[in-house]
Each structure stands twice: as C-alpha cells, then as structure tokens.
Amino acid sequence: MTEQTKQMTDKQTVETEIDEQEQLRLKRQRRRSIATALGLVLFVLTFFVLTMVRMGPDLFVRPL
C-alpha cells in the first residue's frame, strides 16, 4: 500500500467515525425531543383529567 493510499484510507475511517457520531447525536436529539413532547402532552392530559375528576358531573351542569 502506498503512502497516499494509506492516508486516504485513514481519512475515510475518520470520516466514517464522524458520520456515525453525528448520526448518533441526531438520533439522541430526536429521542429527547420526542420524550419532551410526550412529557408535555402527559402534563396537559393530567390537568384535563384532574379538572374532570375535580368538577365531576357538575362539569356539564351549566346554564346555556
């Protein structure tokens, strides 16, 4: 293997590693975003259910 070929192979290996790291970073970022979104949805749902439970049947008893 010539010196030039060796250098190119090393460069390709480094590039592949960087690419894999970037993909992993993006994957983790996406999962964190999904988890945050799910957390917020759960928070909203909790308040919705809480309101229903607190007010009970009175929720629908109101003047039209």
Partner: protein
C-alpha cells in the same frame, strides 16, 4: 469546615465530554430511579394509611408528583455533587461525571421538575402537601447536599429527614393535616437512615475518604460508627412499635416489626462484635437487611390496615 473545595473541577481530567449528547436514559438516571421507588413506596403507604379516602386518579397524580419531586431532588443532588461523584467508585459512572449530561442541563432539568411537581401536587391535593414537597426538595438539596454533606459527620442524621418526608407527604396529600400517625412514619424512616447509610459508609469507607466527605467512619472511626449503629437500631426497633402502642396498628404488624427490629438490632450488635477482617462483609449484610427491613415493616403496616378496613375476617 469545608472538606471539598466548593464545586470546582467538576469534569475529571481525561474524560471526554459526551460528543453524542445525552440519551433519554441519562436523564432518567439523573432522577435516581432506585431512590424514587423508595419515595413512591413510603408515600403510597402514608397515603393508604390515611383515614379519609381519596379518588384513585387524584391519588395516582399525587404519587406521580411526589415521585417527580423526589427525582428532581436527585437531579439537583447530582448537579451539585458532580465533582465528588467523579471520585467515588459507586458514583463515578453517573451521567454528569462521565460527561454525558452537561451540568447546567441537569440544573435546569432538576429546577423545572421541582417547580412542576410542587404545582401539580398543590393543585391536585392541597397546598399544605405542595408546600411540604417544596420544603422536602429544599431540605435535600440545600440543607443536606449543599450545606451538611461536606461539613459534618452528622450529615446523614439530619439529612435523613429529607428521605423521611415522603411518608408524611402521602398522608398530608389525603388529609391536609400533620397528625401523630404521619409523624411516626417519618420517625421510623428518619431513625432507619443512619444505620443504613453508616453500614454503607463502613464498607465504602475508601470511597468517602477519596472524595473527602466527612462520613462518621472517616471522622470518628469504625468503632464509634459501630456503636452509633447499635444505638440507632435500638431506637429504630422501639419506634417501629409505636404504631401498636398508639393504636393505629395491630398485633400482626407488631409481630413483624418486632421480629425485623430484633433482626436489625442483632445484625448491628454482630457488626459491633466483629473482627476487622469480617467488618466489611457484615456491614454489607446489615446494609442489605436494612433495605428489606424498611420494605417489610411498611408493607406489614399497609397490609394490616387494608385487611382490617376491608373486614376480611368478619
């Protein structure tokens, strides 16, 4: 006296910061799930022992709020203790010391969850419970983690109150008042904490030495720690029988609490009487038994109350 110089040098040299960023699991790890499970269990027992009932949905949201509050305390504890966590074998692989989670992110995460959990509990149950949860988080993070942990060998005795509050919280979330019963639950966990953590400190003495944390075995010596463990185990054994004497637990609980209390006292005396060679193994045994002790005693109290209330034997 400050044993560790502030919070400087958080990231250990030679450990690369996480280039791929934190995973969701890392953030869950910040919440100390094992501690959270204990918080949930004791809070649940406190809630179910309370004389007045609670709507199951309200109860569930209250337990989740208390669990989130406990987790938030864990995240804030990891934020502040990142420097000493990096020095101990038990904690060096936590997300902040290894660089998977940024310290500032852990702080924001912990603060956000603290505020959210207090508001959620206050709105769901009552503001006495919300306030008590806020005080519990404050006590664990500021009084224990920031103030006492690095300054006094009595850190775990006073700081133990933070771990004892959840049982009281469960009760207060239902009744809105602090009476003698939740105080006894608090007392049991409070007196359980020193023998539990001093047993750990005995067999992990080197860890605490490396991190310069003034745990009792490092400051006062192993012998004094063993004596203190026996004293606290005796007090724990007596206090765990108080529910029987005060009339909110029956004979079945008394037998279980008495038996396991004797087990705690026996193992602590065994540790006191041991040679230096066997000390670590016996300390580890006491540590494991103490975990089982708390679980069984609270479970017995809960089951007995539920069985009596359901008129199972009538």
């Amino acid at each position: 006296m400050a044993y560790v110089d502030g919070n400087a040098g958080t990231k250990p040299k030679g450990i690369a910061h996480g280039v791929a960023g934190a995973s969701v699991g890392d953030y869950i790890e910040l919440l100390k799930p094992r501690v959270m499970s204990l918080v949930v269990f004791t809070a649940l027992v406190g809630m179910l022992l309370a004389p007045s009932g609670v709507h199951p949905v309200i109860g569930l949201i209250a337990i989740v709020s208390i669990a989130i509050g406990g987790g938030a305390s864990g995240a804030l504890n990891m934020w502040y203790d990142a420097d000493i966590d990096a020095l101990m074998s038990r904690t060096k692989n936590r997300p902040i010391p290894v660089g998977r989670v940024d310290k500032s992110h852990a702080l924001v995460f912990g603060m956000f969850l603290s505020v959210a959990s207090v508001i959620l509990l206050g709105v769901t149950t009552n503001w006495m419970a919300g306030g008590l949860l806020a005080f519990t988080i404050f006590f664990y993070v500021v009084i224990y983690t920031i103030w006492l942990k690095r300054r006094t060998a009595q850190n775990i005795v006073i700081g133990g109150a933070a771990g004892a509050f959840p049982a009281m919280l469960g009760w207060v979330a239902v009744t809105g008042a602090v009476t003698i019963e939740p105080f006894i639950l608090f007392l049991i966990v409070f007196l359980w904490t020193p023998p539990h953590f001093w047993a750990l400190a005995l067999y992990k003495k080197g860890d605490y030495e490396a991190a310069n944390i003034p745990m009792l075995p490092n400051v006062a010596g192993e012998r004094t720690t063993q004596i203190q463990i026996v004293i606290y185990s005796l007090l724990l054994g007596i206090s765990s029988l108080l529910p029987v004497f005060l009339g909110f637990a029956g004979l079945a609980y008394g037998v279980v609490a008495g038996g396991f209390g004797l087990g705690m006292i026996g193992l602590s005396i065994h540790l006191f009487a041991t040679s230096k060679n066997l000390m670590r193994a016996r300390a580890r045994r006491l540590f494991s038994f103490s975990l089982l002790y708390l679980f069984i005693v609270f479970l017995a109290l809960l089951l007995e109350t539920l069985i009596i209330r359901s008129n199972f034997f009538s």
